[in-house]
């Protein structure tokens, strides 16, 4: 990439020769500053030894978003800068947020869990800030606990559950055995699956909590115990598909191939609904995957994708509104004119009622993309088929002040 300095002669040449639509913004370079706030979390190792969570998850997506915005910025005279703040485990997240806000950062991308996100959004310094949630899928953030100063990039758990059940109903696999882990997140996802089943015409034939805690995976012959346990757990139930809720990855990967009857597994493991997936290569996604691989030397995860999307949304709004002013950018982001290309075959935009990014959901396993929800023409909607996923305007509990 050529250093920015090399571009100046070209930009002035552009202005000298002809009137281009971007000429007025070329006159003076505008700086768009974006804050990044994340907190190191002590994450439990996933059950599978493979794919251990990378330490730089999320931030790498934001950095790639800055690089993409900057390439466009060369032509429009806009500079994009990411100011990164990483709070340690149990560190003072409020202080880190204040540090960004008092340094005139009014667009702040966060990689935080729901409680921390709500705590920074409530700070007096956050009143004039737009916060971009890239990590918390909690339904309450789009419902009773929604905030006017937060936009949500990850699909909510309700959207993920709807996307999965839409596919199951399309396949006519409507009998669901729902297996629920011990986390609060698992209980929320299970409730969302129940809601989705009612909404799209599937049924939960049985719901069972998973309570068996297997020993260390490396214990010799440990696979016998888990095989026997899963077979016993699923015996005597008539169902089409086992849907598992296990966000912490404690047992879900051990269900496939071990059920009593030969049944498929979907949910948080098996066939997984997600914002991004490694096998995804349609609608130009190969290019984003390649760019990310080159930069980060690893595959793009969901959180990298949502962070990239947040930064690109800001970039797109800055380009279209021809402004570096955070107020103008935020107004444009929420307007009908905003649309973002996110490599998923549809234009992405923010829902007015809860600040959630409207987006297709990928359904993939580890090695292949199986489907993309909503399936075209199958679930109709008055305004946008994308709004068949998650909580729609008439049913929202969110009241934005």
């Amino acid at each position: 990439m050529a250093p920015i300095g090399n571009w100046r002669p070209m930009l002035s040449l552009v202005m000298g020769l002809i009137a281009v639509p971007a000429a007025d913004v070329c006159a003076e370079e505008q700086a768009v500053k974006i804050g990044w706030l994340s907190q190191t979390a002590n994450r439990t190792a996933p059950h599978a030894y493979l794919d251990r969570p990378p330490a730089d998850e999320g931030i790498q997506g934001a950095r790639l978003g800055i690089a993409d915005n900057s390439t466009t910025g060369h032509f429009t005279g806009q500079l994009f800068q990411l100011v990164e703040r990483l709070a340690p485990v149990e560190g003072d997240i409020a202080a880190a947020f204040r540090d960004l806000a008092t340094n005139n950062m009014r667009l702040i991308v966060t990689d935080l869990a729901a409680p921390e996100l709500l705590s920074v959004a409530a700070l007096p310094e956050a009143a004039s800030v737009v916060i971009f949630n890239t990590a918390a899928p909690d339904d309450r953030l789009r419902g009773a606990d929604c905030r006017a100063n937060i936009l949500h990039l990850p699909p909510s758990r309700a959207m993920l559950a709807d996307a999965l059940v839409q596919y199951l109903v399309t396949k006519n696999w409507t009998g669901i055995l729902l297996v629920v882990g011990r986390g609060d997140a698992d209980r929320e996802f299970a409730a969302d699956v129940r809601h989705a089943a009612k909404k799209f015409g599937a049924r939960i034939v049985q719901e069972k909590p998973w309570t068996f805690i297997p020993g260390a995976r490396r214990t010799d012959t440990g696979h016998f115990a888990i095989q026997a346990e899963v077979a016993r757990f699923t015996q005597g139930i008539s169902y089409d598909v086992l849907v598992v809720a296990d966000e912490q990855d404690e047992f879900g990967d051990q269900l496939p191939y071990r059920t009593y009857d030969p049944k498929l597994v979907a949910g948080t493991q098996g066939l997984v609904p997600s914002a991004w997936a490694r096998p995804h290569e349609q609608w130009g996604a190969t290019q984003l995957q390649e760019r990310f691989l080159r930069q980060a030397k690893r595959w793009m995860t969901d959180r990298d994708y949502t962070a990239w999307t947040a930064v690109r949304a800001i970039g797109e709004a800055a380009t279209r509104s021809k402004s570096a002013d955070p107020g103008a950018i935020s107004t444009f982001l929420r307007s009908d004119q905003f649309e973002l290309a996110g490599y998923k075959g549809a234009r992405l935009s923010f829902r007015s009622w809860d600040g959630q990014l409207r987006q297709p959901i990928l359904l993939a396993d580890a090695r292949s993309l199986v489907s993309v929800s909503p399936p075209p023409g199958r679930f109709l909607h008055q305004f946008s088929e994308l709004d068949t996923l998650g909580i729609d305007k008439p049913e929202t509990k969110c009241r934005l002040g």
């Binding site: 070209m10 552009v14 281009v20 639509p21 649309e339 290309a341 234009r347 075209p376 946008s384």
Partner: protein, 326 residues
């Protein structure tokens, strides 16, 4: 398409062409198949596939040489351009292209190729005779469409993620103007009088008609297919007749080609073709339009006098580019 219709369709082309007021010049159609690394050769008279030519990895953009004796192919995953001798029907030479060539344009003299390198934000300029890269021009993120003005003086490159049409002065080999268009621009196609270039936006769902003197958008053409969600309308391929009476837009997963009055910009009708229609090419005398349909693995033949689809022809896997020669 139901198989029962095949017999009936065979008879139609000849009739349709008679209605058009003359027999179309016999042509040969070449289609690049992205997924099976081949070029399908289709006979324009019988409208049947006759041969396949093995080429490099992931062939996408294709172009005829000026003398129409060779075919240039963007072999995207082989990271070079291949030259197929159309008499011998085999690859006889490779040209450098920079990484991941997707689409390109040939200067009117037939000596220089301008290549979009999708992965590296560059347009690479290649001297065909010498087989060398002359220069690289930095553009936006994911360069894609390449439209050369009929006089060869200006090249319009679109960059998908930057959402711009970059106008490049081919003598200076520099970007001289940028026009912001709708999301994910794909093709840039000039009118024959050099007065305009048309830019399709796949995610934006529009075609921007740009005044080539002022670099201003004079019209944004939008599409609405009854019963089809707006998200499914994703314009990619654009073709404009030499007399600028008609224009055509391939609407991707809407499985339709829009017929546009190129003077009033009104959409006249939508023609149902194969699935995920992407690229378009006229036959030499512009009595027909061919479309590549990436999901149904076929090409559709549109009769331009009747504005009707007269035949679907099976080709290879994921057909991408199409050209036709006498």
């Amino acid at each position: 398409m139901p198989t029962g219709m095949t017999c009936r369709l065979v008879a139609i082309p000849a009739m349709a062409l008679l209605c058009a007021g003359g027999i179309a010049t016999a042509d040969t159609i070449y289609v690049s198949n992205e997924k099976d690394n081949t070029i399908t050769v289709v006979d324009g008279v019988s409208l049947a596939p006759v041969r396949t030519i093995a080429v490099g990895q992931r062939p996408r953009g294709i172009l005829l040489s000026k003398d129409e004796k060779s075919l240039y192919i963007c072999a995207s995953d082989s990271d070079h351009i291949e030259v197929v001798d159309l008499a011998a029907e085999r690859v006889v030479r490779n040209l450098p292209s920079g990484p991941d060539p997707e689409y390109f344009a040939l200067d009117p003299a037939g000596k220089v190729l301008y290549i979009a390198n999708e992965d590296s934000n560059l347009v690479t300029v290649v001297d065909i005779e010498r087989g060398e890269v002359v220069t690289e021009i930095p553009v936006g993120v994911e360069p894609e469409g390449m439209g050369l003005s009929p006089d060869g003086k200006y090249l319009v490159n679109t960059s998908e993620t930057t959402s711009m049409a970059h106008v490049i002065d081919t003598a200076k080999r520099e970007v001289v103007a940028n026009v912001l268009v709708d999301s994910r621009p794909r093709r840039a196609v000039w009118t024959d009088d050099s007065a305009q270039f048309w830019v399709s936006a796949e995610i934006g769902g529009t075609i921007s008609v740009v005044d080539a003197a002022k670099y201003e958008i004079v019209k944004r053409i939008t599409f609405a297919v009854p019963g089809m969600p707006a998200e499914a309308i994703q314009p990619v391929g654009v073709a404009i007749t030499r007399d600028r009476k008609l224009a055509f837009a391939a609407l991707g997963p809407a499985n339709r080609v829009a017929v546009i009055d190129a003077q009033s910009y009104e959409v006249m009708r939508y023609l149902l073709v194969g699935q995920r229609v992407w690229n378009l090419a006229f036959n030499p005398d512009q009595t027909r339009l061919y479309t590549t349909n990436g999901v149904s693995n076929d090409i559709s033949v549109i009769d331009l006098a009747a504005l009707k689809v007269i035949k679907s022809i099976p080709v290879g896997q994921s057909p991408w580019g199409v050209v036709s020669r006498r």
